[in-house]
Amino acid sequence: MALSREAYQAFEGIVGTDNISDDPALLDSYRYPLSHTAIHIGPYYRVYTPRGEAVLLPGSAEEVQAIVRECNKYKIKFKASSTFWSAWGYPLEENTIQLDMRRMDQILEIDEKNMFAVVEPHVIGATLQAEAMKVGLNTHIHGSGSSCSCLASATSLGGLGPDTNYMGHHSENLLGAEWVMPTGDILRVGSIGSGLGWFCCDGPGPSLKGLVRGMVGMNGAMGVFTKCAIKLYPWPGPATLPVEGKPPAYKAVLPDNIRVYTLGFPAWEAWADSCYLIWEAGIGYIAHRQFNMFGRDLKGAMVKILSDPTKTLSDIEELLDDPEVQKMTEEMKRDYQIVLAGMTPRDIEWQDKALDRILETTGGWKVQGMLDPDLYNWALLYMIRLGHKNLNLVYGGGYDGCFGLGGTPDFATSGPETIPRVEEATAFKAEWEKKGNIVATGGDAMMGGIGGMGGGGHAMWESFTHFDPHDKASTEGTLEFFDAATDYGIKKGWGPGMEKMNAYARGADGRSTPKEIRERILSAAAQPEAFRYQRKIKETFNPNDLGDAYYRTLDEPEK
């Protein structure tokens, strides 16, 4: 259903001719392939999210407001996105316009003293971090890396990443937001709403943080955020990262108060114990099982390739035969990466001593191969800037996560039987890898933070599965594996995993999940009442229903 000429002209009148288009090919660049990453349903071969009716590039909150008002007038749905790297950000249905927020890209303020930044939607992790570092501060970079919008993850979606242990989940970092509500009214949420500045999202003032953000965010289904304030953290390093080396193997030699280690452990119990001890000690500026995204068997070879500009994926097999790489890979089997940042020389010495004590207690070690200067300086830069997250897709072009073992660290590393859950999931995936449709990583390509909220607590692992979205057999084989993983998770009492995370909203055709299925999924959730309550919120704040199914609501009354 194309937009009526009248509606198109109304939008054009707001943003100007250069900032609106309904050209079919242009609109197709705003469709997300469902044979891809972070879809968390499927993958479905050659299926795309539906084409929006038009794309608009608003340049200010006032323009957004005017657009939303027209949407209410013409009953057109709208979906805003800032950096467009996830399925959540694209239309679910026809009669939806896409708002591309990239023209609103200013860092409006960095308040050095009070340690926060006010940003517009298209400010990304890398630019905010670069500016913050100039004044001795740093920002949380979301797990999808520094190419992604800071505002999107602070206000609207997910929010954990490798540095969450120290720099918090992004829902914790949100200090206030300017929200164009689905009705077109503008609400400044938190202390800013009372004219008191951007220091607290819970007030004094309209304290709607729980409503607009919560833990998972409203996924662009309830209005548009046009600016927000984000808490910043101390950065005891140089004002600019001193990056050197040939692409893609960039490295940074940083002062000695910032250190990176890959820690290895003799058993999963020891691994989990170390997480608790790290939280207790209050160390771990960044702490994440990151390089395991390449897989237990391949990560040693992969870090060698990535830190050497002359190497490519064609070197994998030769490296796998290298005894030195084999030794390192074995040492890294149960691992995570940790960055220590000492605020003073004494602080870093203390932190390192504390880490050594933790390793002594748990029987763990610092993986020696990763202390080689080339790997060390590469890993340091990688972890701090998180600018290589697209490596998730380096193998075949597609990846998605499954299982998603979440809870305290020993939820994953222990099990009701004697086998740790992580090893159960590994053995299960390793069997499927033998079919050849997904990359044979050794079964365990689980990745995740050791602290999924500020100060530790909660860890979550996603089991990465790599495939080729251009290859039908690979894509469909991955889907079969994911379905089997769901069944396995349910049978084991872990519940459906990351592989079905989006199933409540988007279906196999890329469009809204049929209502009956949606209701069935949501009513089976642990807290279905939350979704009944959200229905009421939607009725109040979004009376014309101009959002989409990513805002979870349940019509069905309690049985």
């Binding site: 900032n19 288009s21 050209d23 079919p24 090919a25 242009l26 197709d28 660049s29 705003y30 392939p33 891809h36 990453t37 794309v55 590039l57 950096t83 467009f84 790297w85 591309d100 860092i107 990304i124 890398a126 630019t127 670069a130 500016e131 100039k134 890396g145 520094s146 190419s147 600019t240 990056v243 692409p247 893609p248 960039y250 940074a252 391949l298 994926l313 064609s314 097999e317 830069l381 800037r385 998180l386 600018g387 290589h388 997250k389 697209n390 490596l391 998730n392 897709l393 380096v394 193998y395 075949g396 072009g397 597609g398 050849g436 997904i438 990359v439 790599h466 080729d468 979205p469 251009h470």
Partner: protein, 423 residues
């Protein structure tokens, strides 16, 4: 390769948008973090490498047809290759720049042309240059220059002036200086003068592959007949054409940009400086000399999979990601000039911001091209230097024109001019 051969890349693009930025590790500020002029200026996703993959796929799958907008998307790109570098930071197997060239070839084949390009190409066909100038004036730049003409005399090294240096009266002195410097340093150098033609590189970038091949074959034939072993040029576009685009067609010459030759001669003591040039300058890496200046490595092979679904190539495929471009020779030359201080901009080497002149943008989209240059001048200004130095006449022309429109005080030089000042 045909456009269809890039369908795998189109379907494997991971939508990460790295192609819009300089490599994220190198981001030093908000202001100078962008890498792709096309999306920075046009804003819609379609104007990035990612978007062009999607648009190409949409066309191939017949989900959409040619429209004015599609034509605009395809041509409003300076073919600078910044996206290609940033993409390959993580995606070792994708070739966005090659795909974008194929997309242009396809549009040209299908008659989806820009009138501005058509006029230039029409002229090129008749007069052998990209400057809308008569063929007869091609050799004027070298008038009274005491140098061999390789059409009548043998020389080991041929200096190729290129269209811009041949016809741009403000710049041609630089080409004369280059020849004189090399000759005085003992190089057995000749020129083709009025018999020189366009390298064809710009036609290639605009999508006119047929024209490019014609010029490549003619030049190769002429150089072979004259016994040329080495081709030197002061134009980055020509350098790229000779270095990367001619070898697949069978050309086998040593290709040097003047800055490489000068660097060599300075290091060998064959060029000596006698004067100081007290100036703070910054150096702009031309895209075709820098990230696209890597040597051609022959490869023929096919994709295969290991470990189930890891895509590799049999035999091992060369990777062009800007790692081995020409970055140090111009810097070394500048640093060797007494009194001259070189201050770097934020975006340099493989992640330099483009001057805006490439890909036919200067011809078809003067505003976009000028804006791109202005952005670079802003960046140069932020270093506190008084001049921006480049090694390509197209960059110099675009910078000079941008400065003329904005009224900036920044001076623009070629490396060669500063070398000359020090002698």
């Amino acid at each position: 390769m045909a456009l269809e051969d890039y369908k795998a890349d189109m379907e494997r693009c991971s939508q990460c948008s790295y192609c819009k930025w300089i490599p994220l590790d190198h981001v030093k500020s908000w202001r100078f973090a962008k890498g792709c002029p096309s999306i920075a200026y046009n804003n819609f996703l379609s104007y990035s490498a990612r978007g062009r993959f999607a648009v190409a796929l949409s066309l191939l799958n017949s989900q959409s047809n040619y429209t004015d907008r599609v034509v605009d998307i395809v041509y409003k790109c300076v073919t600078c290759g910044s996206c290609d570098v940033s993409d390959k930071i993580c995606r070792y197997n994708l070739e966005p720049l090659e795909m974008m060239h194929e997309l242009r070839f396809r549009l040209v084949e299908d008659g989806q042309l820009l009138p501005q390009h058509m006029a230039v190409i029409e002229h090129l066909r008749k007069e052998d240059n990209m400057m809308m100038e008569p063929r007869a004036g091609r050799g004027d730049w070298a008038e009274e220059l005491d140098v061999k003409h390789i059409t009548s005399e043998q020389a080991e090294v041929v200096f190729h002036a290129g269209c811009r240096f041949s016809y741009d009266k403000d710049l041609r002195e630089t080409a004369r200086t280059a020849v004189t410097l090399l000759k005085n340093a003992g190089v057995d150098i000749g020129i083709m003068g009025k018999d020189e033609s366009c390298c064809g590189g710009k036609a290639y970038d605009m999508g006119y592959k047929g024209e490019f091949v014609k010029f490549a074959e003619n030049a190769t034939e002429a150089w072979t007949a004259a016994g040329v072993k080495t081709v030197v040029t002061s134009c980055a576009d020509c350098y790229h054409a000779f270095n990367r685009l001619y070898p697949p067609l069978g050309a086998k010459f040593e290709i040097l940009h003047t800055v490489q030759y000068l660097d060599r001669l300075i290091k060998e003591g064959k060029i000596k400086f006698t004067k100081t040039v007290p100036m703070r300058v910054t150096y702009h890496d031309p895209c075709h000399l820098g990230r696209q200046g890597e040597p051609y490595v022959p490869w023929e092979g096919k994709e295969k999979k290991i470990k189930g679904q890891i895509v590799v190539y049999e035999p091992r495929k060369p990777r062009y990601n800007g790692a081995w471009g020409v970055y140090d020779p111009p810097r070394d030359v500048l640093k060797s000039i007494p009194g001259l201080e070189l201050v770097e901009m934020e975006r340099i080497r493989e992640y330099a911001w483009c001057c805006g002149a490439g890909g036919g943008a200067r011809e078809a989209y003067p505003k976009f091209s000028n804006w791109t240059a202005t952005e670079r001048i802003e960046e140069a200004k932020s270093t506190g230097t008084e001049a921006i130095v480049s090694a390509c006449p197209w960059c110099e022309r675009n910078f000079t024109d941008a400065i003329d429109t904005t009224g900036e005080k920044m001076k623009v030089f070629d490396v060669i001019e500063l070398v000359q000042q020090a002698i």
